[in-house]
């Protein structure tokens, strides 16, 4: 899955969709995940990076990751072709 190409994400976690004018705020971990998604990394790689950096377990990371992806879908921020 990939974040839509033209979605603007600032260093502060502010996300702007220029198609719709909608904007959102991501927390620091959300921002890290978004950047990794933008780079085209897959779930496995993202999960490993998060686990290496934060004190969490793989079940929690998996649940939070897919919750987050669900939200990105809802907000129409993920390319439909990459669903």
């Amino acid at each position: 899955m990939k974040i839509k190409k033209h979605i603007a994400i600032s260093d502060s976690g502010f996300i702007f969709n220029p198609d719709t004018g909608e904007s959102y705020s991501a927390n620091p971990i959300g921002l890290e995940v978004l950047e990794m998604l933008k780079e085209g990394l897959d779930y496995k790689t993202i999960s490993n990076k998060i686990l290496a950096q934060y004190n969490s377990d793989s079940d929690t990371v998996e649940k939070d990751f897919y919750d987050f992806i669900h939200m990105l879908h809802q907000y129409n921020l993920i390319d439909k072709d990459d669903e």
């Binding site: 033209h6 603007a8 702007f16 220029p18 198609d19 719709t20 004018g21 909608e22």
Partner: protein, 348 residues
């Protein structure tokens, strides 16, 4: 180098909570690069704030209401022209467009230019003609019907599922969730704006707007889409952001190339759950949020004046996406003498 001074008469000076487009149009004109604008304000009421904004409006005159007829309006314009030598008039209210369109030739003879849609273009986009308009040009539009009396309203409501939108001919709209609400809105709107009142299918979705300028030959001179971010209780945008949806720009190009629209306009669009755009309204004039277009690089008022004067003009190629406008109110302190002057003499 000094620019040429152009005298431009502008209506819609009511910069109130449901503002007319005059003041933002004037701000665009004052920022024009191709000419220096001298602004003649044309007002209907003595408390239109623009009358007292002397940094924007150089001189003001009251004009008669559109309902008094074109002869009276022409007499008044002739008088103002004899004093001010107007080069261009930009009317900014839906209700006054028809009289100014009818006077196009007379004004032209006087040396006053306009850049307005044709009477046919104006009429075919009227709210009650929208279904035919959609069919003719291939646009999704909500079902609409004009209603002139309560009997017809009751009959029409049988063909629609609630909620429905009840709209005034020129302004005002409300959503009715049942027959009683529809009747109440019909009375309220018809008392204020006259007949017909329009019953329109309710389309659920997200509202977007596009303002722009057509050259009358099918070309898009300007198009800027916007999403309202903050809406007042009257449904007016108090804040908005420029966006870049290609489908909306394509739809605008299609509207202009098919209709050969001449002049400024605003498309009110609804994007439904299937990402399909429906045209809810086509406003035949520049909207009050036009200063956002100026701010993102497309000075529509300046371009309109250049077209009216037959000057060379190139379509705008780009605009800044993600720029916002935030409207605010401002109390001016005005001397009674000024109010007395406009009230007594009809000029200020």
């Amino acid at each position: 180098m000094m620019n040429k001074q152009i005298t431009i008469a502008v209506t819609g000076l009511n910069a109130i909570d449901s503002p007319g487009p005059g003041i933002p149009v004037i701000r665009g004109l004052k920022e024009a690069k191709a000419f220096d604008a001298r602004i003649i304000g044309l007002s209907y009421e003595t408390l239109e704030p623009g009358l007292y904004m002397h940094d924007l409006v150089d001189k003001s005159y009251q004009i008669p209401y559109p309902s008094t007829g074109t002869a009276v309006l022409l007499d008044r314009i002739k008088y103002i022209h004899s004093r001010e030598q107007i080069d261009v008039i930009i009317p900014n209210f839906d209700a006054e467009l028809m009289p100014f369109m009818k006077l196009r030739n007379e004004l032209n003879t006087l040396g006053i230019r306009t850049f307005l849609p044709t009477e046919e273009q104006y009429t075919e986009r009227e709210k009650y003609n929208l279904p035919e308009f959609g069919k003719k040009y291939g646009f999704h539009v909500p079902d609409s019907e004009a209603v002139h009396d309560i009997g017809k309203l009751q009959k029409v409501l049988r063909d629609y599922d609630f909620p429905v939108v009840i709209k005034g001919k020129f302004y005002d709209a409300g959503i009715a969730h049942n027959k009683e609400q529809a009747v109440s809105l019909y009375h309220k709107i018809s008392a204020k704006w006259g007949l017909p009142v329009i019953v329109q299918e309710f389309i659920k979705g997200t509202e977007f707007n596009v303002t722009g300028l057509g050259d009358g030959k099918g070309n898009t001179i300007s198009a800027v889409p916007m999403r309202k971010q903050y809406i007042t209780d009257k449904g007016k945008a108090w804040g908005g952001i420029s966006i870049s949806d290609k489908n909306m720009l394509d739809l605008t190009d299609k509207f202009l190339s098919q209709t050969k629209w001449k002049g400024g306009f605003e498309l009110e669009l609804m994007k439904d759950k299937d990402d399909k755009f429906h045209i809810l309204e086509i406003n035949p004039r520049i909207p009050a949020w036009v200063y956002l277009a100026v701010g993102v690089g497309q000075n529509i008022p300046e371009a309109l004046v250049k077209l009216a004067l037959g000057l060379d003009i190139k379509p705008f190629a780009d605009y800044a996406v993600g720029k916002m406008f935030i409207r605010y109110s401002w109390d001016m302190i005005v001397d009674l003498e000024e109010f007395q002057q406009i009230s007594t003499y009809g000029e200020l």
